[in-house]
Amino acid sequence: MRLFLLLSILIFWGCAKTPKEEVDEAIDVALSYLSSLECQKAIDLLEETGRQNDNPVYLEVLASAYACRAGFDAIDFITSDVGNISTVGSDFMKSLAAMSVSTETTVDSADYQDYRTALNILLDTHNAAIEPSHANRVTVFGARKAGDMDMQILLMSLAQLGKFLHFYGNVNNLGVKGAGTQGNTCFLNYTYASAQAVISAATTGACVTTNAGHTNLAFGANLANAKRRMCEALVLVTNTIDTLNGLTFSTNSNMANLNTVKTNINTLKTSILAGRPELSALLNTTSQSACVAKLENATEFNNMQFIFALLFEAGLK
C-alpha cells in the first residue's frame, strides 16, 4: 500500500505542464491549424497563452495567423506575385499595385487591419525609445531568427504596400494610378508649396492638380486618420528598405529580382535625402507611433506631404 502511495505521488507530481510546454504545444497545434487554413483557431489558441514577446517562433506563428485570416498565402505570393515585381524603378510601384494580393476596395478593411496587426507583432520593440530595425531584431532574437522574421516582414510589407497603393492610388487592374473607380488621381490634396511644385512639374502621372486626393486621406475633420494612414504607408516603405538591406536573395530563386529592387530603392532614398536632407527624420522612421508623433509638428507634416509627392505620386503613375 505504501509502495502504491509512493508511486502515485511520483506519478502525479509531474502532471502539470510548465508555461514553456504550454506555449510550445500552442505553437505546435497552431501550426497544424495554419496548414489547413483554420486561421481563427490558431489566433485564439496563441492569444490565449498571452503574447510571448521574447519568443521569435511564437511571434512568427501568431503574425502568420493574422496574415492567414487576411487571406495571405506566402507560397502563392512568392510564386505568383514576387517574381513579377518590376526591377525598373519607374514601374516598381505600379507592379506592386497590380499584384494579385493588392486588390482593396474598402478603407481600413478587416484584411488590411489584419496585415497591420501581423506586422506590428513582428515589428514592435516594446520600447518606445527603440524603433524597429533589422539590427534590433538581431540583438534581441539572434541572427537566425531575425533573418526569418525579416523575410516575413518583407513579404507582408510588400503585400500591404500593394494594397495601399491599389486603394489610395485608385488604380486599375494594370496598376495605373487614377484609372480606377474611386475618382481621385492623386493620393493627397497637397497644401505644402514644395509638394505642389512636384505635382506641377508633370512627373506624377495622372496626378496633375494638387486637390485631387483620395477622400480617406483628406485633411480637415479626417486629419487624425489621414496622418495615421500616411504613416502606415511610410513605415511600410522604410521597413521594406530596412529588411531588404538585411537580406540577400539567391540569384536562381523566385525572389532574385528583389536584389535589384533593393539597389533601386536605396538609390532613390539616397537621392531624395541628398536633395532634401530635412526629410531624413521621416525617411528614417520605422515606427508607426513615432511617425504619427512627428506629424504633430507642422514642419514634419509638410515634409510628409513632400515625401508623398516625391515617392508615391512620382513613383506610381
Partner: protein
C-alpha cells in the same frame, strides 16, 4: 505491436523500455552483437503525392506541406550477463515537418546519438520465474543509467528565411545539415522500473511500471554563437500489462501500455495496444498506438532474425493531430545465449 512493450520487454530493447525486465533474463549470458535497424517515411502509401515532384523549393513546399518526413538508421549491440545489461547505441535520426501556408515553417529534429545504457534488474523476494518454473511469481526492480552524446538540431525555421534558403543551395545532405547548423550536447539519464510476473503452466501475466529519463534527460550543449539546441529526452512514466500463453508450437501475447502518466495529454494519445501470435520461426504482430494502427512480422532463423512492419505514429502534441506513416526493418544477427 503498437509499441506496447513496457511489460513484454525481453529482447534486445530491454533497457529502452523497462530495466526491471533484466530480472527475468533466462540465461547466464546473452549476446546481441549485430542488430541494425532502419525506419523511414512510408512514401509508397502516398505515391500519388510525389508524382511530378517539383524541383524548385517553393513549389515543392506545397507537396510537402503538413507531410512528416522521417528517416533513421542505427545499431544497438549489447549483452546481458545474469541480471545486468549493457547496450551501446549509435543512431542517426532525421525528422522534418513543414507547416503553415501563410508563412511556411520547417520543424527540424535531427539527431546523431552515440552512447551506452547499463542497468540491473533485481529480483525482490524469493519468488523466481524461469524456464524450469511451471508456476510461480517474481517481482523485479530495475534501475539503469545512460550516457549519450547527441549532435543535431531541434529548431523551427522559416522556409523562406536565409538559413533554410542557404542550406538548400548545398549539393548534398551533409552540406545541407551543416548549413542548417548543429549543436553538440552530452547527457546522463536514469531510468527505473518495476515489474511483477505471474506464471501458471503455459500462461504468464506481467504488470510493469517504468519511469524513463527521470527528471528529463537534458543535454548540455557546447557553447555556440547561435544558441542552437538538440532535443532533450522528456521524462515519462509508463504502465504496462501483458498476458500470453506459450504452447511450444504456438504462442500469443496481448499487451497494453498507458504512457506518460506523469504528463498532461489526451487519453487517446496515452494508449498502446498490441498483439502477437507465433509459431516456430514466424511471428505476426499488430497493434494500435495513439489511435493509429501498426502491423508486422518477424522471421527467426536462429542466427538471423528479421522483423519488418508498417505503422503510423503521432508527431503532434494532440491526439490524432499529425499522422506519420512509417516502416521499420530490423535485423538481429548472431544472437546467442549461454548458460554456464
Amino acid at each position: 505491436m503498437g509499441d506496447a512493450f513496457t511489460a513484454v520487454n525481453d529482447d534486445d530493447y530491454t533497457l529502452f523500455y523497462n530495466p526491471a525486465s533484466l530480472g527475468r533474463h533466462k540465461h547466464d549470458l546473452t549476446l546481441m552483437p549485430i542488430n541494425p535497424q532502419g525506419t523511414g517515411t512510408n512514401v509508397l502509401a502516398d505515391a500519388d503525392r510525389f508524382e511530378n515532384f517539383p524541383t524548385q523549393p517553393v513549389p515543392a513546399s506545397r507537396v510537402l506541406m503538413d507531410y512528416p518526413v522521417h528517416a533513421s538508421a542505427g545499431i544497438s549491440p549489447g549483452f546481458k550477463i545474469f541480471n545486468l545489461g549493457v547496450t551501446f547505441i549509435a543512431n542517426e535520426s532525421y525528422d522534418l515537418l513543414l507547416r503553415n501556408r501563410a508563412h511556411p515553417m520547417l520543424d527540424l529534429d535531427l539527431r546523431s546519438d552515440r552512447g551506452v545504457l547499463f542497468g540491473v534488474g533485481i529480483p525482490l523476494g524469493s519468488g523466481r520465474v524461469n524456464n524450469k518454473t511451471t508456476s510461480g511469481s517474481q517481482t523485479n526492480l530495475g534501475i539503469s543509467g545512460k550516457s549519450i552524446s547527441r549532435k543535431g538540431l531541434r529548431d523551427t525555421l522559416a522556409l523562406t528565411g536565409p538559413t533554410v534558403v542557404d542550406s538548400l543551395s548545398k549539393e548534398d545532405i551533409g552540406g545541407i545539415v551543416d548549413s542548417l547548423g548543429q549543436a553538440s550536447g552530452k547527457a546522463w539519464g536514469v531510468d527505473a522500473g518495476l515489474e511483477h510476473i505471474e506464471k501458471s503452466g503455459s500462461t504468464q501475466f506481467v504488470f510493469a511500471l517504468a519511469a524513463l529519463d527521470i527528471g528529463d534527460t537534458k543535454f548540455k550543449e557546447a557553447e555556440n554563437p547561435n544558441k542552437l539546441e538538440v532535443a532533450d529526452n522528456k521524462g515519462q512514466v509508463n504502465l504496462g500489462m501483458a498476458g500470453g500463453q506459450n504452447f511450444g508450437l504456438f504462442h500469443y501475447v496481448l499487451s497494453t501500455d498507458i504512457r506518460g502518466l506523469n504528463q498532461q495529454m489526451d487519453m487517446g494519445k496515452r494508449v498502446r495496444v498490441g498483439a502477437q501470435v507465433g509459431i516456430p520461426l514466424l511471428t505476426a504482430m499488430a497493434g494500435m498506438n495513439s489511435g493509429y494502427y501498426s502491423y508486422g512480422a518477424s522471421l527467426n532463423l536462429g542466427i538471423l532474425k528479421v522483423t519488418a512492419g508498417l505503422y503510423d505514429v503521432e508527431m503532434g502534441s494532440k491526439y490524432k493531430q499529425i499522422k506519420s506513416k512509417q516502416f521499420v526493418i530490423y535485423l538481429s544477427l548472431f544472437d546467442f545465449s549461454f548458460d554456464a
